[in-house]
Symmetry: C2
Subunit: 342 residues, 2 copies
DNA sequence: CTGAAAGCGCTAACAT
DNA sequence: ATGTTAGCGCTTTCAG
């Protein structure tokens, strides 16, 4: 049917002006008198004009679009991050191209290529847990496309980053447990190749050291960020009859895995085994007992990241890299609130 | 620095062929001999060529991009839907432009406009709970852009839809409760303007009618899909000392609200008040007691939706509209599994 | 199999 | 304040 979208030139013809005038009027260019502007805008609306972004972007060489790369979507942390990125973008009249690496480095690489092809004005990324080859980030830099790393950060010099105080947060949680009276503390850690895994482990170690507690490596696992890892690690220890009194987990899904395993073997949390984790999620307050944790203010992460990125987009000459640390808080609920061991 | 991306013509010049040849070779066009193809591809890689999608799309008039509009992201249902849409898209070499209406009809409208401007090849949408004006969907149709409605569906003729058997699922849950022995059954329903609210309510009614049970309207609320609504409705009934024995909720967050409220007033689930909900989420099995529900197979929804859409994109002349119903299942966990009332 | 010409719809730079 | 010219980087005819 009316399958054909109308163009600037259609409006121009109708009004007997040039396409340039229409183009300028529609973009509120100061060149055009407010009279003709009004006229043109109303006619454009009447005719149901929608600009062709492809053409616009091609000739203007900017897309008003930001590319985002995350490892997962259906995960509370990333879900919240993404949602607030969309909010900030909307407020600033930017479009978002969201891509998902599914924790796959190759897929991540392809996505970044695509974003470059789409001529995004900037990129926001939380790298996958598998990403080891950082050369693509050099390519991005070489292209002059600003990129901000959020939360999961590669070891590269001179990049813009926004991250959580992982080490300090982990320290806070573990020290709190120690002060409660816990001494047998385990840690289900994440991949140590990635900053969040490494730093949280260090925070754990810091607290133990400070209070002269030995780190029992049998109680420390390095593995991942998911439920299954928590479940399996717990079960291993359980079968060896070698459970600590409290486990600090690198993420809340890992803690969830412990909840599952514990209930399966009829151990009660927090009486028989206590838990505290890094990372907040809505679930936690509905658990029984409600799970205590170190919070990561997701909206702060997205907002600051967008801020840094938009700033870099607007001031391409500004080469100074920003590194913003977001503070954490201890959120005590039904676990890790008292020491009740023999 | 090397801020300038290289173009087809750069490769062409280097190889002393025409840009057309390069363009064709890179797109694996049958015109070109596999010899020259190989050469060109390797040189392109060497030079770090990335195609400019803007230019490509402008001249080819297709974007290999699908626009998606959802009401929310940080919600288990939509999170899963989106994640699997991304998977299917990736497999089919499509890019996704995801937009979020935040349950705001005006914002939704704007997003659809933007997607049209971006010349997406098709649109996948789950409309906001506020959407009443359907004119924009006419615009989309007039533009010849295929659109598939998922889960939340407007009342329009001749559209492609993929939806869950809401009425049948709700019926199943409530009938199960009745067979257990429940007679005092309440329903915290959603907005009845939207299909999922309306249909689930009807399913509830169907079951009650079939078993000659009166629907007590004091136990039926119409309001929303969130936790607060569940909490508030429960509290209202509690204060009036007028609680039913079991509540069927339109979504799991509403049930979560009941969990919160119940624990606040020291009522035990399922002993004092029993609950079952529509919609599955990972949380539920970690709750205490684990929450029973009617499942919605999210991956089926996305996969079928994408199937229908891709088919429409490939066969624009196919005007027959498809309406696919996805079946549900009863997932019994720790609630609504026995009748233990006076 | 290869290439020359034309143009997608728009905007930037430069007139007028 | 408005219009002219040129071109963004690519693909699509259509000729060879």
């Amino acid at each position: 049917m009316a399958n054909k979208s109308i163009r600037l030139s259609d409006i121009a013809k109708k009004l007997d002006v040039s396409t340039v005038t229409v183009s300028k009027a529609l973009r509120d260019h100061p060149d055009i008198s407010s009279q003709t502007k009004k006229l043109i805008i109303s006619v454009a609306n009447e005719m149901g004009y929608t600009p062709n972004f492809m053409a616009r972007n091609l000739s203007s060489r900017k897309s008003n679009t930001i590319g985002v790369v995350v490892p997962k979507i259906a995960h509370f942390f990333f879900g919240s991050i993404i949602e607030s990125i969309y909010d900030v973008a909307f407020r600033n009249n930017y479009e978002i191209i969201l891509t998902v690496s599914q924790e796959d480095a190759e897929r991540e690489r392809k996505h970044i290529q695509t974003l470059l092809s789409m001529k995004v004005d900037g990129i926001l990324i939380s790298i996958s847990q598998e990403t080891k080859d950082y050369s693509i980030f050099e390519t991005v830099k070489a292209r002059g496309v600003p990129i901000v790393f959020m939360d999961r950060i590669p070891k590269i010099k001179n990049i813009d980053t926004v991250f959580v105080d992982d080490r300090g947060g982990a320290f806070k949680a573990v020290e709190h447990a120690i002060k409660l009276g816990y001494t047998k503390i385990g840690h289900f850690a994440g991949y140590s190749e990635i900053n969040i895994g490494r730093e949280r482990y260090l925070g754990f170690e810091d607290a133990m050291k400070k209070h002269n507690l030995p780190v029992n490596q049998e109680w420390v696992f390095h593995g991942g960020f998911g439920e299954k890892y928590g479940y399996d690690s717990f079960m291993k220890l359980y079968k060896e009859n070698n459970l600590p009194d409290l486990i600090f987990t690198v993420t809340y899904p890992v803690a969830l895995g412990i909840y599952m395993a514990a209930s399966e073997v009829n151990m009660k949390i927090p009486e028989d085994i206590d838990v505290i984790c890094f990372g907040d999620a809505k679930v936690q307050k509905f658990l029984s007992p409600p799970l205590s944790c170190v919070t990561q203010p997701t909206n702060l992460i997205s907002e600051r990241s967008m801020e840094v990125l938009l700033n870099k987009i607007k001031n391409p000459e500004d080469k100074k890299s920003q590194n913003i640390e977001i503070p954490t808080e201890l959120m005590l609920r039904g676990t890790c609130i008292s020491y009740n061991k023999a």
